[in-house]
């Protein structure tokens, strides 16, 4: 056994209240083993304690953490190890790769300088030897022109390349264990696929073990040998990967597998965790949509460009969206997919005129109810605005922290004169809260008292106060845990059926887009690459780029 964690408990001191030390128990007695030359995955939603468990191995926790139990690495207990012993282990025998490569690399040093550092400190190489070795490492992780790249600064590389550099740094001293904390979460799907394949290959080549932390069972199924499922600081199930996917024992594991939308199945509603524990089956009953529904939004030749500063006074035009055309029917959903930088969010915000005019030019036509939204005057635009609304990605940022939920929901109605009195507006707000699955008590609370999923429901309720016809959902479920994501997606479908809303659903996640959309727009570098009905696009993609995107979606465990 390379690493054996026995009854690990981690608590965080939270300061004193009434003279008593308050503690939050984040990990409540966790035990599992990592055998040599194998990959163990820790899976769980946010707050499950998976990262805390992994970080306590090398004691990379904040200073207010208290650990107990045993962490045996090759027979030595790392919990008892002194600071200097830990320093010797860190980087040399156990290395880490973190989630966000942009913030893990130091921006003021070149890649070469950062790669050389562990080689000189741990392996006592000379500067010259270390440089040669660093070049080999960059070559090994698949970075082209490694010699030239050694002199590059992190910002000169793409996100995928930065993560490769992080992996190269972790591999520098040939560690026996690599801890990877959500290493692909911040990357686009196609890059994620490349990085995962690279990690698998390197693991075999160097005969090391890997502790792979992820919230995504799809990714875990492809890369790991053993899976440990965690929830609320406890282990719910640990088993070889085939057993987890083919015969899950725990209700929570089953639910996690079921509530993730997939490319192969086609339910009308996603399963949520409570459903699964109650033993309900997925609802496969699709409501047929009216093929002759009126067109609410017709976009033609929509362009958006930004001014980039160049030199002292010069500026250069950057075309973020280069001409998008689509029609959206009442009660239909248009999915917009693409990788980061494809212009999908810029396109969505351009529809709502939420870009600052001074930053760049906008062109094309957005016909809504016979009028072009882009050329409306201020007063007319205010009137039209209530009919087209937006939900943003990050539910933690999109609600004003100093407003109660009641104030947040009343404000749009006050601006547009909906409802006759404050009491009437309150009543409407409460009704909408109930509709999105919250209750009246929420009215007097502040956003920080709600979870991410609840906040996103409130953001949706705020849009609904204006009785809009079109909702732009900009990565509206991307920041949510899978189980919460399923609930919000179901809610969106219910609301669409009830109010006949039309959605423009912007996402990087093809599986989610497939679940909710009737038609899909694939964007790349500001251009629409492919546009087709959802089923058609998934079954028979015409463009190479679409095929690559589809091929990169993690599919979970596929059997040997």
């Amino acid at each position: 056994m390379l690493l054996s964690i026995q009854d690990l408990k981690v608590a965080f001191r939270l300061g004193k209240e009434h003279g008593e030390q308050q503690r939050a128990l984040a990990v409540k007695g966790v035990s599992f083993d990592i055998p040599e030359n194998s990959t163990v995955a820790l899976v769980g939603e946010s707050g499950s304690g998976k990262s805390v468990t992994a970080m306590s191995i090398l004691n990379l926790l904040p200073t207010n953490a208290e650990r107990s139990g045993r962490i045996l690495f090759q027979g030595r207990d790392l919990l008892q190890a002194s600071q200097s012993e830990l320093l010797a282990v860190r980087g040399k025998e156990i290395a880490c790769v973190f989630q966000d490569p942009m913030s893990s690399l130091n921006p003021v040093f070149t890649v070469g300088q950062q790669l050389v550092e562990p080689l000189i400190t741990h392996l006592r190489m000379s500067a010259k030897q270390a440089l040669v070795r660093a070049e080999e490492l960059l070559h090994e992780v698949g970075i082209p022109e490694p010699k030239r790249r050694l002199k590059a600064y992190p910002h000169e590389m793409s996100g995928g390349q930065q993560q490769r550099v992080m992996i190269a740094m972790a591999l520098a001293c040939e560690p026996k264990l690599l801890i990877a904390d959500e290493p692909t979460t911040a990357l686009d799907v196609t890059i994620q696929r490349q990085v995962m394949e690279l990690m698998g290959k390197l693991k075999d080549k160097h005969r090391m073990s890997m502790l792979f932390i992820s919230h995504d069972l799809g990714v875990v199924g492809e890369i790991s040998d053993h899976v440990v499922v965690m929830r609320h600081g406890e282990i719910r199930e640990k088993a070889p990967v085939a057993d987890i996917f083919n015969a899950p024992q725990d209700g929570y594991t089953k639910a996690l597998l079921a509530c993730r939308p997939s490319l192969s199945e086609n339910p009308a509603r996603l399963m949520v965790i409570d459903d699964h524990i109650a033993g309900k089956a997925a609802d496969m009953d699709h409501k047929a949509k009216d093929p002759d529904a009126p067109v609410v939004l017709e976009v033609s030749g929509l362009k958006k460009s930004f001014w980039l500063k160049q030199g002292l006074f010069g500026k250069r035009e950057f075309q973020a969206v280069k001409g998008v055309n689509f029609k959206l029917r009442k009660g239909y959903t248009l999915g917009v997919v693409g990788e980061s930088g494809s212009g999908k969010t810029t396109m969505g915000l351009a529809l709502l005129r939420l870009h600052e005019q001074s930053n760049g030019t906008q062109g094309g036509q957005v016909m809504f109810d016979g009028r072009d939204l882009l050329t409306l005057g201020r007063a007319e635009w205010l009137q039209m605005r209530r009919r087209i609304q937006v939900v943003f990605q990050n539910p933690y940022a999109s609600l004003n922290p100093r407003f109660t939920i009641g104030q947040t929901l009343r404000e749009p109605m006050e601006i547009h004169g909906i409802g006759s009195s404050t009491a009437d507006r309150e009543a409407r707000a409460v009704a909408l809260l109930v509709k999105v699955g919250l209750d009246e008590t929420a009215m007097h609370k502040y956003p920080h008292e709600f979870s991410g999923g609840q906040r996103q429901r409130i953001a949706i309720a705020r849009c609904l106060t204006l009785q809009p016809e079109v909702l732009v959902l900009d990565e509206a479920v991307s920041a949510l845990d899978v189980s919460v994501q399923a609930q919000v997606l179901n809610l969106l479908k219910d609301l669409q059926d009830e109010f006949g809303l039309s959605y423009i659903f912007i996402s990087h996640d093809l599986a989610v887009v497939k679940f909710i959309s009737d038609e899909v727009l694939v964007m790349q570098n500001g251009d629409v690459v492919e546009q087709a009905a959802t089923a058609e696009l998934i079954a028979a993609p015409r463009e190479d780029y679409t095929r690559r995107l589809l091929g990169a979606v993690p599919r979970g465990y596929q059997g040997a």
Partner: protein, 341 residues
């Protein structure tokens, strides 16, 4: 459940809870509050109303020092014994009785000037205790008002510049650059020449020259916040620019302005002292900590240290308490520090 019980604790209530847990902060809050009460009482002439009365002997020492030894008057000896009777040779002697009758109509009251006073007296014999209290009123009012003026100007310009950016932002940046390019003491002199002397002049001088730092901080906060999703959401529901600036963003950055306000109170009190010391401060018939310090300079040479000591100690207590209170306030209000307590 009653309506009050349902009401959740807002950000301000949480900040108050955190502030209450800070013992140093609370002690300082009480000290500052006590000074504020004193300021109100002196302003209403309840106490220190007759600070201009010369109630002690010149430069009377404090009680603890004891009365000054009598000064040597000169070489001529004061004659002892009764006055020489001149009535037999004085031609005016018959009118003595008349004069005495006239004199008895007036009553001469012997003013007994105090030998010592609680904190001593200045060179005119005015009570230093009362002077310090009256001086505190002027200094603190100047500090607070000037800080309010500076914060108001800084926040307003910062909000406009940060929110709109572009040409308006450039214009305000130029104004800012002009103000910061001139050495501050020179700028203060220039304003002092225009406004003349008096409490309100000092408030305006300090307010009009001291807003620049606040402007930059508020501008940066507004630039950061106008990109936030909650402000964009407000724009999407049709909220006007003014509503987004002052209803949405301002409450979220108000802790910056508030902390700056209290920091500037301290620095403006010190500036007022310097201005008055240089003779550019409050008018001569008023007293402030600055004018007292400037008087104390010449007294100190003669060994009369009590005026200087009284002012320095009072000022030090107030400024230290206010600064520590500001620190506690920032810790309580700054959301970035949350979770570190």
């Amino acid at each position: 459940m009653s309506a009050a019980a349902k009401q959740s604790r807002g950000v301000w209530a949480l900040a108050w809870t955190r502030l209450k847990a800070d013992r140093v902060g609370m002690v300082c809050l009480w000290i500052v509050a006590a000074f504020m009460v004193l300021v109100v009482l002196t302003a209403m002439d309840v106490i220190a109303g007759n600070w201009q009365k010369e109630i002690g002997v010149p430069n009377a020492p404090p009680h603890i020092v004891g009365p000054m030894p009598p000064e040597a008057v000169g070489a001529i000896e004061v004659p002892k014994g009764p006055n020489v009777d001149l009535s037999d040779i004085d031609p005016l002697a018959p009118r003595y009785a008349e004069w005495e009758a006239a004199a008895s109509k007036y009553k001469t009251e012997e003013i007994t000037r105090a030998e010592t006073l609680p904190l001593g007296a200045d060179r005119l014999g005015r009570d230093i205790l009362q002077k310090v209290l009256k001086g505190a009123e002027v200094s603190i009012v100047v500090g607070l008002l000037a800080a309010l003026v500076a914060t108001f100007i800084g926040t307003l310009l910062g909000a406009v510049s940060g929110f709109f950016g572009g040409k308006i932002g450039d214009l305000l940046e130029w104004v800012y650059n002009v103000f910061t390019a001139i050495p501050s003491i020179l700028l203060i002199f220039a304003f002092a020449v225009i406004f003349g002397r008096g409490v309100m002049s000092v408030v305006l001088i300090l307010g009009l020259t001291g807003w620049t730092g606040i402007y930059r901080l508020v501008r940066a906060e507004f630039m950061k916040h106008r990109q936030r999703d909650y402000v964009r959401s407000a724009e999407a529901i049709g909220a006007s620019s003014a509503s987004r600036m002052f209803k949405h963003i301002l409450p979220n950055v108000s802790h910056v302005a508030l902390v700056q306000l209290s920091l500037h109170v301290v620095s403006f009190i010190k500036s007022e002292v310097i201005l008055s010391y240089l003779g550019l401060g409050v008018s001569v018939d008023q007293v402030s900590w600055g004018t007292m310090l400037s008087e104390a300079q010449s007294e100190l040479i003669l060994g009369y240290w009590w005026q200087l000591a009284a002012v320095t100690v009072t000022m030090a207590v107030f400024v230290t308490a206010f600064a520590l209170f500001t620190d506690a306030l920032r810790d309580a209000l700054d959301p970035k520090l949350r979770g570190l307590e």
